[in-house]
């Protein structure tokens, strides 16, 4: 398979997975969150967390930052469309950032790599 075809198919698959995630991803806590809920006594190791369970965080002396698209969404107004836009933006951003960084490394850092006398 040629590079161009591989890239197009790869990106399309990544975007489809991302869009499916907006509708099908589980809302249950992940492993780290579940552990925090167990430690804080809000859930048992094998049981589910109650609907109102919330991780108590102590922000004292810790850095705080508000992301532009928290939780992969654009707020409640846009509903699932916000999630779709966020996931597409993130997927393309990850692609572009790796592409751009790699090109920069090859262009500026590897200049002359393998050339005789350099």
């Amino acid at each position: 398979m040629e590079n161009r075809t591989f890239i197009v198919i790869g990106i399309v698959i990544a975007l489809l997975i991302g869009v499916m995630a907006v509708f099908l991803a589980s809302s249950q806590p992940d492993g780290l969150e579940s552990t925090a809920l167990v430690i804080q006594g809000q859930k048992t190791l094998a049981g589910s967390a109650p609907g109102n369970a919330e991780i108590h965080e102590s922000p004292d002396g810790k850095f705080s930052y508000t992301a532009p698209m928290p939780d992969y969404s654009l707020g409640e107004k846009l509903g699932p469309w916000g999630g779709i836009i966020a996931i597409i933006a993130g997927t393309l951003l990850a692609f572009g950032l790796v592409l751009g960084s790699s090109r920069l490394i090859l262009t500026f850092w590897s200049r002359g790599k393998g050339k005789p006398g350099q």
């Binding site: 991803a25 492993g31 967390a49 002396g61 698209m69 939780d71 490394i105 090859l106």
Partner: protein
């Protein structure tokens, strides 16, 4: 497994950042040495795929969900643990800065867990298991499972040092949940590697010598 800012004191976060920067530097050296114009778009597609897969949480029972981490996948496909550090660092930057998934001060710890530990455990256990079993599926699945499980234990120790989790309870809960999540990691890694090997067998020549694995 993305540790948020509120789970770790700033000073500890900075220590993990300092360690992570050493590995990021080494991953840039890997990119300089091993990356070619032909390979760049493929590495970028892999990053996009890992980002998308990380957003897809699947239920794993016990009231918990999990997703692919991708350290083993990147390291096996590109034939180096530093490939995992390179890709996971950039994916974690996007997740942390744009989506608040994982903290800024804790990003160093997240890079160490998912990129460095995940990449090294995934890559070297894959190599060892390929040598021992000669079976691509078993080697990929087991390496990916370990690359999910071991970083989770490392995160539990970091949470203990941060005063967020007690050690024993943290290790047990993180271990149990990520032993289950590791099954997703293993399955998705095997499927992804099979797809990539079918589409572009040339990409994996560094990780899997010719004649090994495809038919295993």
């Amino acid at each position: 497994m993305h540790i948020p800012d509120s789970f770790m004191p700033l000073t500890q976060g900075l220590v993990y950042w300092a360690i992570a920067l050493v590995f990021i530097g080494l991953s840039l050296r890997w990119a300089r040495k091993d990356m070619s114009e032909d390979r760049i778009p493929i590495v970028a597609v892999l990053a996009a795929g890992i980002f998308a897969l990380q957003s897809f949480n699947l239920p794993v029972s016990m009231g918990t969900s999990g997703h692919l981490v991708g350290g083993a996948l990147a390291a096996i496909v590109l034939g180096s643990p530093f490939a995992a550090v390179f890709i996971l660092t950039l994916v974690l930057i996007v997740q942390g800065v744009i989506f608040g998934d994982g903290g800024i001060t804790t990003m160093g710890a997240n890079i160490i867990n998912m990129g460095v530990i995940g990449g090294f455990v995934g890559f070297y256990s894959f190599k060892g298991l390929m040598r021992a079993t000669g079976n691509m599926n078993i080697a990929c699945f087991s390496a990916a499972w370990l690359a999910c499980f071991i970083p989770a234990l490392a995160a539990a120790v970091e949470m203990f040092l941060a005063g967020t989790f007690p050690l024993r309870e943290g290790l047990i809960a993180m271990g149990v949940y990520h032993a289950l999540i590791g099954i997703i990691e293993g399955f998705v890694t095997v499927v992804a590697i099979r797809l990539i090997m079918t589409a572009r067998p040339d990409i994996m020549k560094l990780a899997v010598p010719a004649g090994q694995g495809v038919g295993a």
